[in-house]
Symmetry: C2
């Protein structure tokens, strides 16, 4: 195989009680990438559509991730990369992760799969480091593995995939405002009270149990964030109104997607997810802010080969 | 049924990364209790063996828990309670919880099971409040439900049972020193760094995933406590030596049982658990401190009716 075309999905990180460790994979929102294997060693970005991103491989997250993988192979090969962006950078649904994860997935396929998923995650984390300053895995892991993912540990890197119930959907509203991950991080307090930590851990345990046992109500009851959301949500216009509206319309729960500004809700079934999307839109129609709504089943497979 | 005899088990709370929310139930370590239903309203403790505990129902955890249940029934009935203690108070393996959970379980049986497990937990928590000052549920829940339990939330009370793998054993050493829960709690810091919280949550997620997927190695990798153990373990003689010795001998992991002084290890299989018990004993034989070792399968049922 010399050329591969892939769909690389958007992802929701944090998921209320899972700050920095949980992520989930969306199904019908994502970028396309085409990679070609060539006989000259090196990485070249040959085409970018949809967004104005750098072609310099050291300044592009896909370039940096590709280089991290290339350093680990001896073969005299190189790769040409086409990036067709649908996910807007700064959306909070893993735009950089889609590119970082996509490129290493595609290279691994073209090379005959020499690397494990965990190795691919670690290469893609280098792209995340370029994008946000920290080599986090909570978006690249769900993009590469699908389903829900849990980062048990960074040192050593230990990532688990957790399958989610068949009928679980995510609805995401992306308000078209810019909110940099670094800004969203700077509002966080460095210390947490032991009391709040215990509450957060109870909910994390509940959410993970709900995923394993397909208990939608438990998933919903567990979607609370005592620590990050109260501080960070003030940066997101109409956050509380959106949350209240979606719960009223039957969402299991809702929270900030990644570091924002996107807001996600989890729902049982597509009908409920669509209804929740309308409720989100109603709140934002009253503002002057443009927005996009995505309704998606949880993607259990992650990145998909198109051809 | 007028009389019931039960076995009410010891329990391990906290379990490394599950401070205040996780607990597990032991199988062959516990107290016996006999309860008789009488036609005069009220609670009376008629016999206590094994330990020197108060007969005054307002000063005895079983008495207080029994009163909490009695307040919720209109029937003109009363109960006589016999308590036969094998679990020493202050051991860190849920001595007060065994009495509190046992009495409400037995009363519920004699009454024809009018109360749910969750209601029984909330009654037994009143006994825990007498014993330690806080109405915690992380020992009474596993005693009543068996297996591993997770307190997702206290307000409202939400408790989950998590079944554990078939071949999971706990080995516990109880050094015969006094360590009051209130003292063990006073050494804790009120604030936790966000970084350590994230590490702790990763491990909690890993442990719960390991239980659902019967992944013994994952359970072992997740048995870390970045927050409580470093401070509290200094109150327990030879804690680090015991932990090192049991890991060397094949334990999946180890930590403080409850608020100590007992130390628990989780093991795969009885042979491993016995070996780990010997390793614990070897460390403590070098001290002047008396100790007891318990080797137990995880008890999936909780309290058992003997007759």
């Amino acid at each position: 195989m010399k050329e591969i075309k892939i769909f690389t999905p958007a992802t929701v990180a944090n998921i209320s009680c899972g700050f920095d460790i949980l992520g989930l994979c969306l199904d019908n929102v994502g970028d396309e990438m085409i990679l070609r294997k060539v006989s000259t060693r090196g990485i070249k970005i040959t085409n970018i559509t949809g967004q104005d991103l750098p072609f310099d491989i050291n300044k592009n997250v896909a370039g940096v991730s590709a280089l991290a993988l290339l350093e680990n192979i001896d073969e005299n090969v190189g790769f040409e990369i086409e990036i067709h962006k649908n996910i807007k950078p700064g959306s909070g649904i893993g735009s950089s992760a889609a590119s970082s994860a996509g490129v290493v997935f595609a290279m691994n396929e073209l090379l005959g799969k020499p690397f494990s998923s965990l190795e691919l995650i670690s290469f893609a984390m280098q792209g995340e480091k370029l994008a946000s300053g920290t080599a986090h895995a909570d978006n690249v892991a769900p993009a590469l593995l699908g389903g829900f993912t849990l980062i048990r540990s960074y040192e050593p890197l230990d990532v688990l995939k957790i399958n989610s119930p068949e009928d679980l959907y995510a609805t995401v509203i992306h308000p078209q405002i810019e909110l940099k991950t670094s800004d969203a991080r700077s509002v966080l307090k460095e210390q947490v009270s032991l009391t709040n930590m215990v509450k957060q851990m109870g909910n994390l345990g509940g959410l993970i149990s709900g995923l394993y046992t397909s208990d939608y109500q438990l998933i919903g009851r567990s979607l609370h964030d005592e620590i990050i959301e109260p501080t960070r949500s003030v940066l997101i216009p109409k956050f509380n109104q959106v949350k209240k509206a979606v719960i009223t319309k039957g969402a299991l729960g809702a929270g900030i997607s990644g570091s924002g500004p996107s807001i996600f809700a989890l729902c049982k079934g597509e009908e409920s997810a669509q209804k929740v999307g309308k409720a989100m839109a109603e709140v934002y129609h009253k503002t002057l802010i443009d927005f996009e709504i995505h309704v998606s089943k949880i993607n259990q497979k992650g990145i998909k080969i198109i051809q």
